[in-house]
């Protein structure tokens, strides 16, 4: 992506921040929240996160990880373990990153 395209992407993302944070304060008159929006809201953020996250964790160059010598596997496992036991975001990030950096620097995985 060229620098200019990234800049356009960033400006668009800024508009999205403004529009989503201010969505229902924009109209001058009160607008009831449609039922479909409430329902979609329950699932849309989760779906977007999962769809972006999984290929990041489990794929290399558009293919599923085909080796056990990939530090991301163990970093993700550690992240899941820490999150499930503590529900702590910061701990999840720190523990997973520690495993990843250790395996990368130690074994070159």
């Amino acid at each position: 992506m060229s620098h200019w395209t990234v800049l356009v992407a960033i400006v668009g993302l800024t508009v999205i921040t403004v529009v989503t944070r201010g969505f229902f304060v924009i109209p001058e008159r009160e607008v009831p929240i449609p039922a479909w929006l409430r329902e979609a809201l329950r699932y849309a953020p989760l779906a977007a996160l999962v769809a972006v996250l999984l290929p990041e964790i489990a794929m290399t160059d558009d293919h599923l990880i085909a080796t056990w010598k990939d530090a991301r596997i163990y970093a993700t496992a550690m992240g899941v373990l820490v999150f499930c036991t503590t529900r702590n975001l910061l701990g999840t990030i720190l523990a997973g990153t520690a495993v990843l950096v250790a395996l990368r620097l130690g074994f070159g995985w």
């Binding site: 992506m1 620098h3 990234v6 800049l7 356009v8 992407a9 960033i10 400006v11 668009g12 993302l13 800024t14 999205i16 921040t17 403004v18 989503t20 944070r21 201010g22 969505f23 304060v25 924009i26 001058e28 929240i33 409430r38 329902e39 979609a40 809201l41 329950r42 699932y43 849309a44 953020p45 989760l46 779906a47 977007a48 996160l49 999962v50 769809a51 972006v52 996250l53 999984l54 290929p55 990041e56 964790i57 794929m59 558009d62 530090a71 991301r72 970093a75 992240g79 899941v80 499930c84 975001l89 910061l90 999840t92 990030i93 997973g96 990153t97 990843l100 950096v101 990368r104 620097l105």
Partner: protein
Amino acid sequence: MNASQPLWRHPEFARGARDMTGISLGIGAWGLVTGIAMVKAGLGLPLAITMSLLVFAGSAQLAALPLIAQGAPLWVIWATAFCVNLRFVIFSAGWRPYFAPLSLRHRLWVTYFMADLNYVAFMKRFPQPGPMSDQLPYLWGGVAVNWTAWQLMSMLGIGLADVIPTQWGLGFAGSLALLGITGTLLIDRGTWIAAAVAACAAFAAFALPFHLNIVVAIAAAIAIGVLVDHFAPPRAIMRAPS
């Protein structure tokens, strides 16, 4: 309140700031991870700094970064960020009764700075919907702490990521952050099923061009989630009494 008194001298400004101070450590850590992720996604320093200062939405930034790095079409990047930000749309309905007397420009200016935790703190402080003169000083006090903690740590992350070699894999901290947020959203049967469907669809449709697999995954997960909500028999019937 004296109308000529500056906002930051108002006692509620200090209170708003105090209420955010305890959680600013977590906000700062989040900013640090986002800062690192921006540079490791291939944004140079100027673009990473621009993104941090303008977009000011950590989860949406983290979700958009892999797509930017892979050169996905702009509309897919934006659609993804919009979906991740949908929670703010619901928060905005909550803000409405408080901000109704303000001008449109003022309303948008205030809500732009309202991250998740500002909403939580404000609703705890002012549970009665309706405008009061104490509210804006309280909000800006919270924003002063939240925005500063976020941006400072984000800049620190940007600086660190530029120095630390890519082989360390620190960019993966952004993926681990997304993993954690995803975990917090998995709260019941419907969300687990929707997540599983999104995962399967994202992989199954991976060969589609333009990263359309993400759009397919979101559409499929919403459809299944809403179906589960509407047509699944109540749990009491499904489960044997224990």
